[in-house]
Amino acid sequence: ASDVGDVHEGFRTLKEEVQRETQQVEKLSRVGQSSLLSSLSKLLGKKKELQDLELALEGALDKGHEVTLEALPKDVLLSKEAVGAILYFVGALTELSEAQQKLLVKSMEKKILPVQLKLVESTMEQNFLLDKEGVFPLQPELLSSLGDEELTLTEALVGLSGLEVQRSGPQYMWDPDTLPRLCALYAGLSLLQQLTKAS
């Protein structure tokens, strides 16, 4: 029981951290969130440009400069807290490979982010502090809504973070070395899911 408690405690900390930052993004107007989604979508898959954005935002935050989001009908001036939250998520997205970033864009188009988020969340909830590799059964309903192509896309997205999902079974292979990459994927999925929901 104690082990289970620890696992939940570890993941809960991440979840709360991500929720805190997501709440700052939620405070943006609908137009602001839509504009942010549009900006990020164009940068995903271009790691260098995403890193440049990260540096620019960080510099602006450090020096107290204004950050404006270009939007119609009117540009949106971002609060310091909103810039901090965006910086947090851009940091997570730059942790992902370019291939994963492109898969995220594709997943947005296919509207399967909620399923992917649930898959990553569920896996981490169960294994967050587990130090050993192992194969674990996957709740069949987690993937049941996905078609073949969407399933392949999802397998590739989480697989590139080191979470190997096999349809037969279904089951997944847990490797504790992959935890930081999965945490970054979880944060990235959480942001994009919020932004697509708001848009």
Binding site: S35, E66, G84, K106, A187
Partner: protein, 246 residues
């Protein structure tokens, strides 16, 4: 994720699970992460995927007034490898200075990664601290103007021998599907990779923040937090805007 990143991350996790040992991202930068090198930290800190450190072209010794340099700036310390490594480790675990790691992600069956730690010796730091900061050094001025924080590499894990890493197999089977061709993914992951890591290559490192006090006094405190600034607060440069362009 490159093979090099895979290996350094796995190694950092083995040696220091959930600790402050930062894996190096890029093989090409390893010479800029030796002890005493100055680096910049990017990214809002989080426990979960760590900070990103960016190289600079300077070491702490470069930005100090001339003076005595420690003859041997580093020592290997007595690092408790044995308790920190899991069953995948074999070899000289009883020798505190070096350790061999087999079977880590990215290593082929026959590869062995032999690493050692180097850390700035307390006495070496004391010697260096007798020297004042070269307050007019252009690099320091630039960093101060930019409001950057500087960090000093204090400990590294480096390779003892050259090693070649190979990766093949799983990634090819999973992701070389025609479906991904339009995304340009096939080329990036559908091939075997091999990379040779030279002897003395830094794989992971620990930093401490450099704190400048007054004009030319400095310190490297043991504890730092996100609110600490390397340079004392001064006047901000002119107004600038960052615009997220669609």
């Amino acid at each position: 994720m490159t093979m090099f990143e895979n290996v350094t991350r796995a190694l950092a996790r083995q040696l220091n699970p959930r600790g402050d040992l930062t894996p190096l991202d890029s093989l090409i930068d390893f010479k800029r992460f030796h002890p005493f090198c100055l680096v910049l930290r990017k990214r809002k800190s989080t426990l979960f995927w760590g900070a990103r450190y960016v190289r600079t072209d300077y070491t702490l010794l470069d930005v100090l007034e001339p003076g005595s340099s420690p003859s041997d700036p580093t020592d290997t310390g007595n690092f408790g490898f044995k308790n920190m490594l899991d069953t995948r480790v074999e070899g000289d675990v009883d020798v505190p200075k070096t350790v061999k790691v087999k079977g880590t992600a990215g290593l082929s069956q026959n590869s062995t990664l032999e690493v050692q730690t180097l850390s700035v010796a307390p006495k070496a730091l004391e010697t260096v601290q007798e020297r004042k900061l070269a307050a007019d050094h252009p690099f320091l001025k630039e960093m101060q103007d930019q409001g950057e924080n500087l960090y000093v590499v204090m400990e590294v894990v480096e390779t003892v021998q050259e090693v070649t890493l190979e990766r093949a197999g799983k990634a090819e089977a999973c992701f070389s599907l025609p479906f991904f061709a339009p995304l340009g993914l096939q080329g990036s992951i559908n091939h075997k990779e091999a990379v040779t890591i030279p002897k003395g290559c830094v794989l992971a490192f620990r930093v401490r923040q450099l704190m400048v006090k007054g004009k030319d006094e400095w310190d490297i405190p043991h504890i730092c937090n996100d609110n600490m600034q390397t340079f004392p607060p001064g006047e901000k440069s002119g107004e600038e805007k960052v615009i997220l362009i669609q």
